[in-house]
């Protein structure tokens, strides 16, 4: 078994893993996801640390989701704080809803993961022009489409049925977002061939593919040494 750890998350994840192995996955699901009272991360990033590894096992996958939700939440918080020029009231309304959903997804994972959660990520949105509708909606589409392919692609790695169901509950909401954003860019493009293949299946992506893209929006780089995306 690979047991790479890092100073940020390794200790917490190893503790969780021991619990998962000896207490059984079902009990662990309740224990980990019930740990909402422990929301203060004990493993917050040191100021000089500029990368994070998601860890291993189901906790690694949940931290992967947490990382992506952090990125999406930060993006939409900025979108609503500095609306693009010419934004319509209904666009503001939809984007505010999406912001609220993504912030909740982020906060949910943080609460559910408790002390096993990775730290807060620092984003880099320097490639996005927040005053320009095309730039903002293009980035929103990229983030939403990526979120869908990420959950779909990582689902089979999840060992707990409870965690799989939670991922399923979130991914369909991300797909609803993705379709809406696509429709705002171009009506009728909600299931275009850039995201849906010739069999009518949404595309899916590996953790390595997703993080390689997501890291373009992150100062804190996220790696997955146990899922074929090690820090090089």
């Amino acid at each position: 078994m690979k047991t790479e750890t890092n100073s940020t998350t390794g200790g917490a994840n190893m503790a969780r893993r021991s619990f998962l192995r000896y207490a059984g996955a079902g009990a662990a699901a309740v224990a980990v996801l019930g740990a909402s009272s422990c929301r203060t991360g004990h493993f917050d990033l040191p100021a000089n640390e500029n990368n994070i590894d998601i860890g291993m096992g189901d906790i690694g996958i949940l931290n992967y989701a947490y990382a992506l939700e952090q990125l999406e939440a930060a993006f939409y918080l900025q979108v609503i704080a500095t609306p693009y020029s010419g934004i319509s009231s209904i666009e503001t309304s939809y984007l505010t809803d999406i912001r609220d959903h993504e912030v909740l997804h982020r906060d949910f994972f943080k609460a559910a993961l408790g002390s096993g959660a990775i730290g807060s990520l620092t984003t880099d949105f320097s490639s996005i022009n927040f005053s320009d509708r095309t730039s903002v909606l293009g980035a929103a589409k990229l983030l939403e489409d990526t979120g869908v392919t990420a959950y779909d692609g990582a689902g089979y790695l999840i060992q707990s049925a409870d965690y799989l169901t939670i991922a399923g509950k979130i991914v369909s909401v991300e797909a609803r977002h993705a379709a809406l954003i696509s429709n705002l860019i171009k009506s009728g493009s909600f299931a275009d061939t850039d995201q849906v293949d010739a069999n009518g299946l949404n595309k899916s992506a590996t953790i390595a593919q997703v993080l390689a893209g997501a890291n373009g929006f992150l100062k804190t780089k996220v790696y997955a040494s146990n899922f074929n995306y090690p820090k090089v």
């Binding site: 078994m1 998962l20 192995r21 000896y22 059984g24 996955a25 996801l33 019930g34 909402s36 291993m56 096992g57 939809y94 809803d97 609220d100 959903h101 909740l104 997804h105 906060d107 949910f108 609460a111 559910a112 869908v148 779909d152 692609g153 689902g155 089979y156 999840i158 060992q159 049925a161 409870d162 799989l164 169901t165 939670i166 399923g168 509950k169 979130i170 991914v171 369909s172 909401v173 797909a175 609803r176 977002h177 993705a178 379709a179 809406l180 429709n183 009506s187 009728g188 909600f190 299931a191 849906v196 010739a198 069999n199 009518g200 299946l201 949404n202 899916s204 146990n226 899922f227 074929n228």
Partner: protein
């Protein structure tokens, strides 16, 4: 055959292989395929048994059961959109929009039949449908479904939202199955895209001014469509507790945000109870 090469290969797609092979591991989860990287069938019996033990693979029967169930739902959606297209209920301005969904649903039928056949099983044949929900009488509560576009879109939304719930509910049966679970999740996401698109259309056409692309429930009622007869299709969407965390009390969000941020599953029995004897003729 070199066993260690095989395990190395598996490790590339399943980093936890060594843990799975450890007989002391208490909670073994299912996986039945690694795509083309490993041909399980080619392994000697003893090795195959070891992997089967390690992964507690869902039986092919269970997998085919899920796929045939999904196929039944796709038959319904495909039939609905094809009938809608043929009937002329869809106005010209929306025909390309609806055609996109129709095309996807037809592809889902073809795809699922192909997967079931490739597993050596037989795809179920299409049931008889009554799009009015009248159980073959043709005079159910949606009797103008093919003549009134408002009704057509309301039924479309119910089918899409219910389809999302159905795939979500079936996913745990496919736990760990890289090929079939990933395919099911990928269809699930497309159904959610459709649901979002139909909801947007209903909003934009003024059929329901309050409808959002996502399901916004109240604490009293999951159904946000304004069509009371499909309350059952949305039952449970009002849930605000996820993984033991009450999103409203612990994280301070509104019920609207809590319910819209998470879609809820339905079991196969729940879904069939909603459809059989109304849309699916029994």
């Amino acid at each position: 055959m070199n066993l260690f090469n095989i395990i190395d290969e598996i490790e590339k797609v399943d980093p936890e292989i060594h843990e799975r092979l450890n007989p002391r591991r208490a909670a073994i989860k299912n996986i039945t395929s690694f795509g083309s990287k490993v041909a399980l069938a080619a392994m000697p019996f003893a090795l195959g048994t070891m992997f089967k033990k390690a992964y507690g693979a869902a039986s092919t029967t269970d997998i085919v059961g899920v796929l045939n169930y999904a196929l039944t739902l796709e038959y319904l959606e495909s039939y609905f959109y094809n009938q809608g297209t043929a009937s002329g209920v869809v106005p010209a301005a929306n025909q390309a929009y609806i055609a996109e969904i129709t095309d996807d649903e037809n592809k889902h039928v073809t795809f699922l039949k192909g997967v079931i056949t490739s597993l050596g099983a037989t795809p179920v044949t299409s049931p008889t449908f009554d799009l009015t929900a009248g159980n073959n009488k043709g005079n159910g509560p949606f009797k103008d479904v093919l003549t009134n576009y408002t009704t057509f879109l309301a039924v479309a939304q119910a089918f899409e939202d219910t389809g999302v719930r159905a795939y979500k509910g079936a996913a745990p049966i496919l736990l760990g199955n890289q090929v079939v679970l990933t395919a099911a999740l990928s269809i699930h996401a497309v159904e959610a895209r459709h649901a979002s698109a139909i909801r947007l259309l209903r909003h934009n056409l003024g059929h329901d001014a309050n409808i959002r692309p996502w399901i916004v429930s109240t604490s009293a009622k999951g159904n946000d469509t304004g069509v009371a007869i499909i309350d059952g299709n949305y039952a449970g969407e009002e849930n605000v507790t996820q993984g033991g965390v009450n999103l409203v009390t612990a994280l301070g969000v509104s019920t609207a945000v809590a319910t819209a941020s998470f879609d809820e599953p339905l079991t196969k029995d729940q879904v069939l109870a909603l459809l059989v004897g109304s849309f699916i003729v029994n």
